[in-house]
Amino acid sequence: MARQRPFEPYDYFLKAGAVRPARRFFAFAASCHFDTAAAVMIAVSLVTAYLVLPPLYSVIQTSLFTTKLTGEIDRFTFSYYSNLFSELRVLGPLLNTIYFSMGSALLATLFGGTIAWLVTRTDTPLRGLGYFTAFASFGTPFILYTIGWLLLLGKAGPVNYWLKTLFTQTGPVINIYSLFGMIFIESLLWSPFVFLMLAAAFRSMDPSLEEASAACGARMWQTMRKVSLKLMLPAFFSVLLLIFIRSFESFEIPALVGLPGDIRVLTTSIYMDAQKLPPQYGSAGAFSVLLMLVVACTLYLYFRVTREGERFQTVTGKGYRPTVIQLGRWRYFAMFGLITYATVLLVLPFLIILWASFLPFYIQPSLDAIGRFTLKNYVTAVHFPKITDSIKNSILLGLGSASAVMVLTLLASWLLVRTKMRGRWLLDILTTLPLLFPGIVMGLAILRFYLFVPIPIYGTLWILLIAFVTRYIPYGIRYTHSGLLQLHRELEEAAYTAGASWSNCMRRIILPLMTPSFLGGWLFIFLLSAKELSMSVLLVSPQTPVVSVAIFELWENAQVGELAAFGVLWTLILVSIAVLYYLFARRYGIQQN
């Protein structure tokens, strides 16, 4: 079968007698970047919809139907919602949840925001410590920190012991198993995240407004209150909202810290209910839907605030650095604060975990315990089944999901920021949606979806990759969106005027300029996926072990010692990746975003 000439797109239209419109369309498409944009828009929206919609559908379905013993969908019901509200009628858990999430959001923003301000806007010595702490802390798996702080601050822990002797009290001085304890630990966990996001915002602030205020004779604190804080409002609000959502749906801290102290929140209530057999996911589904509604309202509010906020922002392509505030004598006080923060966040929990890793069983720090030191835990940890496989898999997954998310969200952000296409709002919503799923719900939804659709990725690393990419899209958006906002569109326009194609412009203008936020987001997602647990725990197969699940299994079953040893090893690997990145970023003068 000989083909006379290669197929040309015109042929079809020639035959169909639609020569001119077709020609015009193709000519237009070839010359004008906006139609490339349309194509990109369609592609990006389809990919995002494919990732996000199945879990959404599955959540709504689970919340509205009972399941048979075999897990099949059975009857339509509203009972999960009414149960949820009868659960709410016992107002306690709901109030606790609100206190807990608000408290954590506020305290985390206070911690992270203060450090971000000190690091970006003042002449505090040792400012680099802020970035280092933030990156390094991302490396430590969540559960390790929590155990570390519980051992430190627990009733029999060293802190209470010292306080007891100091104040000659008989009982423990601090009760960590309380609402305050929960808020304290949760906000510490989130503060590096706040720091990274607010540091970026502080940096991109136009100093001319502050200078103008100072020129008008305002004092420093007046400028801060009336100008700087107002400029930062959208950023603050966005961070507060994020932490609020995450704390609202978090389970680990309420379970580990709240339950022993009888502080019950919605997630722990649902967990206790879900202990029944046969398992019912309806209440978890209904809870997710409720959460989505709450978040949707808050997001609406947020968008209104930021729309106002954008009028304040005068972000252009001009190079400037915000003025550095001279703290004078307070510099050393600020440095002390920074060091304390790094110590509490990173050093102390790591030390106590390190301590535990050398002991056959956990003993409170004391001199005579040193005599029991052993390396046995490390030997066991290294011989943990498939440890090299799980490390390899976790790193592969981190690389894959970070790259995929950043490319996808760079394109999506470009569409959101640069184009005025209709239907942008849809993409906006699609890329925000994953934020609303509790991890376990998304894990189950993805599991069920890929068991039914004939795409053979069940039991492979691909299903984990898809789950991670879906979950981390909103984080990628945060980075790329704010990065793109900082680039003035005139740079792109200049490229188009000079005859560059869309892909050329993307490759040679946007990507290089976006490197800092791109890499910042990349690393962030890499570290997040390296410790992701709630989805992985359902999606791993015997052939695809990952580190976080291995650590979780040790936590569930083995002793603190082995867990600590494995945790120490994994933390060292991740911290060295973070340090490499940090050095790289400094070497090439990349501003961390």
Binding site: Y177, F361, E556
Partner: protein
């Protein structure tokens, strides 16, 4: 041309995989799972071995701890039958059941054997188990096997109270359930919320052994003791006891306390008669893809030889002729006489009631 190679290659590979999957599935279902499972004839072993050689592997969904016992059992079995490779997936009961049910709904039959204190019963209610026959079952007492042949058992768990020996002297430790009501222990105790090994099972034992009336009266008194709760496993509760956070750990496994004590930890266990016991059951999946290998595995783990592997791992073998490595961990070994065995069906049927009771009475 060159550009097409990867594409062709990938396509070829995909279709080959598909073909292999289809063929593989057909050949495995040549002899039905039921026939293999219920086979009871003189040359059973020979047929199983021949079949297993063709199957080459089996897949086990297990709740047992990988380091402590799954790997030793796997090694021992693979030494006995070198042509079968054991793949395992470890998770708690709920997770195993979730996974198996999701797979069966999608008609993906990956699992051969499922174990756990309650997971086999759960999947049995969903009709996903196959009855089986094994000659070794005859060596077990009736409470350790299913009358209809849906499950056998591999090991037993006995619950006890763990205590920190630095904080509580052995002669002060609570000996009986009544002793737990002593005001001295107020705020000093912790238990796990776990359905299969925590507070709900404790409640079940009390209600069944004391009777509903007296049992509820006791539990109402116990409630005022402010027992701390955690969703972590009872192994974690024991660790907190060793660390001194909560000097008394309610309802922990006695062999966990023993293992830690042997390592030098300041901890010991006290039984409260009658001691609650749960049974680790093991069962065959309805559409087991490797039934021959699976039956060989079942025979092996329940045989005296397989049970010795559990014994060496400091687990408590179910086989009546295989004692615990540390004798006093099993009833009649010197530290306690009576055990109250909670049958998996009871645990399933009554479990929701116990969970509800726990949530209503003990959770604020």
């Amino acid at each position: 041309m060159l550009k097409q190679i990867p594409n062709l290659f990938v396509r070829g590979l995909l279709s080959l995989t598909l073909l292999a999957a289809i063929l593989g599935r057909q050949s495995l279902h040549a002899a039905t799972v039921e026939e293999v499972a219920l086979m009871n004839r003189a040359d059973r072993q020979k047929i199983l071995v021949e079949g297993a050689k063709k199957e080459g592997k089996l897949s086990l969904y297990t709740t047992l701890i990988v380091d402590q016992v799954v790997r030793p059992v796997k090694e021992a079995f693979e030494k006995e039958y070198p042509f079968v490779q054991v793949d395992f997936f470890r998770g708690n009961s709920e997770r195993l059941v979730q996974k198996m049910m999701a797979e069966y709904q999608a008609k993906r039959y990956e699992v051969d054997i499922i174990d756990g204190t309650v997971s086999p019963t759960m999947v049995r209610r969903a009709n996903l188990l196959q009855r089986f026959f094994s000659p070794v079952l005859a060596e077990y007492p009736s409470e350790l096997k299913d009358p209809q042949g849906f499950w056998g058992s591999t090991n037993l768990y006995f619950f006890a109270t763990g205590y920190n020996t630095r904080i509580i002297k052995p002669n002060e430790a609570p000996r009986t359930y009544e002793d737990l009501l002593n005001p001295r222990w107020k705020g000093q105790m912790m238990w796990s919320t776990s359905r299969g090994s925590g507070a709900p099972i404790f409640i079940g034992t009390i209600l069944n052994t004391m009777g509903p009336e007296a049992g509820k009266a006791y539990l109402q008194k116990l409630r005022t003791q402010n027992i701390a709760k955690t969703t972590a496993s009872n192994r974690q509760v024991l660790d907190l006891t060793i660390a001194g956070e909560y000097p008394l750990a309610l309802h922990i496994f006695n062999h966990h306390a023993f293992i830690s004590k042997t390592a030098g930890a300041p901890v010991d266990w006290i039984p409260h008669e009658p001691v609650t016991a749960t049974i680790q059951t093991i069962a065959l999946a309805k559409n087991s893809p490797h039934p021959h290998a699976a039956m060989l595995f079942m025979d092996f783990v329940m045989s005296e030889k397989g049970q010795k592997v559990f014994q060496q791992s400091n687990y408590l073998p179910a086989h009546p002729k295989v004692p615990a490595k540390q004798l006093d961990l099993k009833p009649g070994g010197g530290r306690f006489k009576r055990a109250y065995y909670i049958n998996p069906d009871t645990q399933y049927d009554k479990g929701n009631e116990w969970v509800d009771y726990f949530n209503n009475v003990f959770v604020k």
